[in-house]
Amino acid sequence: MILGLSEEELLEFGHNACAGCGEALAARYVMKAAGKNTIVVNATGCLEVFSTPYPQTAWKVPWIHGAFENASAIASGVDIALEKLGKRKNVNVLAFGGDGSTFDIGFQALSGMAERGHNVCYVCYDNEAYMNTGIQRSGATPKYAATTTSPAGKKVPGKTEYAKPMPFIMASHGIYVATASIAYPQDLTRKVKKALSIDGPSYIQIFNSCPLGWKHKFNLGIKIAELAYKTNIFPLYEIEKGIVTISKKPVQKTPILEYLKLQGRFKHLGEKEIKEVQESVDAKWEKLLKLEETKMGF
């Protein structure tokens, strides 16, 4: 153990992820928490592509990839098959998807899996765009972020919509939901362990940076993730039985500019846009505090 994290690497080194890839780090932490009695179902996306260049694999657990939008459905099948084999109690089933896979194309299958109550922990690796195909806009891309399909143009300054409130949507299914970040590995692994201890579906959304997609320096991924938390852009919380618990609260609020200015995808933003986003971040944070305070269930 180092700082409470297992030293066993179940997503082995030597794979093809970019330097500074936040998703690789997140998956590594998740696997440390899950341990080797785990079956992984991976959606199409960066993680799947960089970790399994045939005939090599970086996975030291049984791992399966089918398509972009069906990790939840494959995992449902794994869950029931394990049950029929009498192996259900000893094995964790993890489903992995990027934000595009989760928020957009695989949303139906994910909702179905949650509704049916499968014993699967679904982890969304949120890098806020379709990175594997070259940084296209997804339902998780933040407003005004420049992507290759929502470029910062002369007329339209990047993406025109806010991200889908995916954790809340998943919480509405009545399941355990948590957000986590690569900047806080102990919090992340605790949440994965908790999700896996539940006999039923769970959803964890992990904030992981992408140096190529976000246009930030390769060594700044953790710093940016830390700032996402400190600015309340990506708050860390759990929703259990519909009740919100904020995992930790920044002692002092950092203005979002500190976060935005490190990333090329936001460099076209003017004062007006920054103000608007700041207000939106503040309002969402206030709402989260209220949800926690009033214990108003989902």
Binding site: Y54, P55, T57, G66, S76, V78, D79, I80, Q108
Partner: protein
């Protein structure tokens, strides 16, 4: 035991006797009666399986991947739009060499929407790497699904298999059926032993990314497996015949009154039954006609077709599908099989789309125009 039952019930009994343990399922007409019977078998404790009530056919076939990959015999059923929605994943099931078995209650594809029978749905899935077996009767539906598991799971095959039965004209028809005993089916189809599976004690990676230096080898191996299936289908049919006293031609094709025939109709599914009647009628009039029933569309039995068509003056190929702007798929395949090796005239007939009745007169028309050599629409 002989009973009069609906073909969907027969198809479901065949599944039950094969003992799949997981059945992911999404309902669509005219597949519904099959999965309804299976749900009853499960809830009455006659079949030890779990039905996964998925939210779409895309998820049905994806869940089938998950359970089969975990090492459990898995079955699903669909039709038409459902099969089309599965299309992307059909390729993945075969590419991952998972012997899932599926019954397809053949139905037309929209638009315009039609719930009635033709073969456009499964024919459109021709190149997905699934074995496709077309059946003619309730008995054949029952017997073939049992065989399909055995064929698909054979270590020289390891490919998924579809059993295609005509929507309504077979699925909703009552026929006398001989139901084999569980003991006998267990002897024929032993407990499933996966060739490989997701196991935490022996971790494997399934569904990796293949670069251009390996992709063709994957496809080559699948193609070879499909070719191997030709032999395995025949052997399975023989074995079934020896054990249960019933067979279907050589397993790939079946002929009827073909011995001294000069002309023959080639078809799949329920119109085979109608064609038998027409052949009998024309034989009574002294006409030298016969019938070739194609059961295995994939793999395609080229050698067998060449052999049985030898010496025939002309054949009429009936297609309940159309490759728009071209011709029927069976017609294309048969002509291609015979090309350069046969003088038999091959004529194509498009009939029975979207549930249009294919009557005795329709088949007679095919014999009338058997020398035409092109494609004719018989409305």
């Amino acid at each position: 035991m002989r009973k009069i039952i609906e073909a969907s019930t027969a198809a479901a009994i065949g599944v039950k006797l094969s003992r799949p343990q997981v059945i992911p399922m999404y309902p669509i007409t005219p597949q519904t009666h099959i999965v309804e019977r299976l749900a009853e078998f499960i809830n009455d404790g006659e079949l030890d399986a779990d039905m996964i009530h998925v939210e779409s056919e895309h998820s049905a076939i994806s869940a089938a991947i998950g359970s089969q990959a975990t090492g459990v015999r898995t079955f699903t059923a669909t039709a038409s739009q459902g099969l089309a929605l599965m299309h992307e994943i059909l390729h993945i099931v075969s590419g991952m060499r998972l012997p899932v078995v599926m019954e397809v209650a053949n139905r037309a594809l929209s638009a315009p929407i039609s719930i009635w029978n033709d073969h456009q749905d499964s024919i459109s899935a021709r190149d997905t790497g699934w074995i496709q077996l077309y059946v003619e009767s309730a008995q054949e539906a029952l017997d073939t699904v049992i065989q399909a598991f055995k064929i698909a799971e054979d270590k020289n095959v390891l490919l998924p298999a579809m059993v295609c039965l005509d929507g309504f004209t077979l699925t909703h028809v009552f026929e006398p059926v001989d139901v084999p005993s569980q003991v006998n089916v267990d002897k024929f189809l032993p407990k499933y032993k996966p060739a490989f599976c997701l196991d935490t004690k022996k971790p494997i990676t399934m569904g990796p990314i293949a670069y251009p230096n390996s992709f063709m080898e994957f496809k080559g191996a699948e193609h070879l497996a499909m070719k191997n299936a030709l032999k395995v289908i025949k052997e399975t049919n023989t074995q079934f015949k020896n054990q249960f006293g019933r067979g279907y031609g050589d397993g790939l094709i079946e002929t009827y009154r073909l011995k001294d025939a000069k002309y023959a109709v080639v078809c799949m599914g329920t119109i085979v039954g109608t064609s038998r009647v027409v052949v009998d009628k024309l034989r009574k009039q002294g006409k030298k006609v016969g019938l070739i029933k194609l059961k295995s569309f994939r793999p395609f039995p080229i050698e067998e077709i060449l052999k049985v068509t030898k010496g025939l003056k002309a054949i009429a190929v009936a297609d309940r599908n159309i490759s728009l702007g071209q011709e029927g798929a069976l017609f294309s395949e048969i002509r291609s099989a015979l090309y350069g090796k046969s003088k038999t005239i091959v004529s194509g007939f498009i009939a029975g789309l979207g549930g249009r009745d294919v009557k005795e007169e329709t088949i007679e028309k095919m014999f009338d125009k058997i020398n035409n050599g092109g494609t004719i629409w018989l409305k």
